[in-house]
């Protein structure tokens, strides 16, 4: 009987002693992922343009829209500030910018992966692409996304070398993702901090 009890106790331990970390200790700050085209020469570009709106994609297609106003402007300005500090000049869309930058906010969309050379259908039809002729970009490297809760995607597109066939290559992308706060301002602050971190960990983005 004693032996039986001991083994019973042992088996209980076996299944109950699997100790997992207290994930509440994590900061919940957004994860900042950046990826670049290793063939891109970032010093070959001098100008850039970024729209003053942010694309918004969610699980509810009818809710897909663009973010305008102060919230969008804060994020757009963060990108502008970083690009300017790296030596690039902001120009109007009509002034033939070398680089196009686009911001997309994604909320509660499932996981997706893009493999080269491919066209990512997820952005088809979004009016933001019409800034450079309504052609979706392609990725020269594999990119995986997790849209479980919320992501801000920053894409840098080579418009200078698009050519007559409108080959819009994404030469740099950042995914700032994680759990969203119920407080909008917190999400915006996290997005701005994420944009700054994305540039910090991408020192190769520079004019000279």
């Amino acid at each position: 009987m004693k032996r039986l009890l001991a083994w019973g106790l042992g088996l209980c331990c076996l299944f109950s002693c699997r100790k997992t970390p207290d994930l509440g200790q994590l900061t919940n700050k957004p994860v900042v992922i950046t990826s670049r085209d290793d063939k891109a020469d970032f010093t070959s570009y001098t100008t850039f343009h970024i729209p003053d709106t942010v694309a918004y994609i969610s699980n509810t297609p009818s809710a897909d829209s663009i973010i305008v106003g102060a919230s969008a402007q804060v994020m757009v300005n963060a990108v502008k500030t970083n690009m300017t500090s790296r030596g690039y000049q902001f120009v109007a869309r009509t002034a033939n910018p070398h680089l196009g930058i686009k911001l997309t906010a994604i909320k509660q969309v499932n996981t997706g992966v893009v493999y080269p050379p491919g066209w990512w259908g997820g952005y088809w039809g979004y009016p933001g692409w019409c800034y450079w002729g309504c052609y979706p970009p392609y990725y020269p490297y594999p990119v995986a996304y997790s849209y479980t809760v919320g992501d801000l995607i920053v894409e840098m597109i080579d418009v200078k070398n698009a050519g007559s066939n409108h080959n819009l290559k994404v030469i740099w992308i950042s995914d700032i993702g994680g759990v969203l706060s119920s407080v909008t301002q917190t999400n915006i602050d996290n997005a701005v901090a994420g944009i700054n971190q994305a540039f910090t960990q991408s020192p190769y983005i520079k004019r000279n």
């Binding site: 004693k2 032996r3 001991a6 083994w7 106790l9 042992g10 088996l11 331990c13 076996l14 002693c17 699997r18 100790k19 997992t20 970390p21 994930l23 200790q25 994590l26 900061t27 919940n28 700050k29 957004p30 994860v31 900042v32 992922i33 950046t34 990826s35 670049r36 085209d37 290793d38 490297y141 997790s146 479980t148 809760v149 993702g177 994680g178 759990v179 971190q197 910090t200 960990q201 991408s202 190769y204």
Partner: protein, 206 residues
């Protein structure tokens, strides 16, 4: 933790000092259950924190007075928190910045053989060797995401220790072991798994 271990060992020695002499020749079978403290000795770049979340179950069948064969099943959870940092791939084309928990769950199992030395009335020293397989999970938790891999590897597990004889039917097990397994995880740069374990527990025998 250190105080707790010293207390347990003191109690064990006290009990053993009042017990009568035992000999392994009296026994045919022995069942063991022990709590284990683990120290990672490989992949310390991935994780190096000591774990107290482990244990083992084992069975030994005596085929000679000083020789037993049997089987074992252990379990252990290792984890460690890493503050926010930036990690780059080899060609520096990709980078990720986050804080994270790194976690390894091991489930070694296999057959064992033990040789027992003449240790006197109260103490029965032994050395042993375990061979088998190890199931392992390696996970990184960051924000709401996780990256996980599960794999199996060949396991070798030498050990040494002694049994403090308390009664005919049971004793206290004290020992240590080194576990090496061939579990691999290319994504996390793990080529094998290795840890040193200290164990304290009970044996029941007939």
């Amino acid at each position: 933790m250190k105080t707790k271990i010293i207390f347990i060992i003191s109690i064990a020695l006290l009990i053993a000092s009042n017990s009568k002499a035992q000999s392994s020749s009296l026994y045919h079978n022995m069942f063991g259950i022990a709590w284990e403290i683990g120290f990672p000795v490989s992949n310390n770049d991935f994780l190096s924190k000591t774990s107290t979340a482990g244990g083992k179950l084992e069975y030994r069948h005596f085929i000679k007075e000083n020789l037993s064969v049997g089987g074992f099943l252990n379990w252990r959870s290792y984890y460690e928190y890493f503050p926010t940092a930036t990690y780059e791939n080899q060609d520096k084309t990709q980078a990720v910045t986050t804080d994270m928990y790194r976690y390894i769950y091991n489930l070694p199992m296999g057959a064992n053989v033990h040789y027992y030395f003449k240790g006197g009335k109260m103490i029965q020293p032994f050395v042993g060797l375990g061979l088998g397989a190890q199931y392992s999970e390696q996970t990184i938790y960051y924000n709401i995401f996780l990256t996980e891999d599960k794999n199996w590897g060949f396991l070798i597990r030498p050990e040494a220790g002694f049994i403090l004889n308390v009664k005919d039917e049971w004793g206290i097990l004290l020992g240590g072991s080194y576990g090496y397994s061939t579990n691999k995880n290319d994504a996390l740069g793990i080529k094998s798994l290795g840890d040193v374990n200290v164990q304290i527990g009970f044996v029941f025998r007939n």
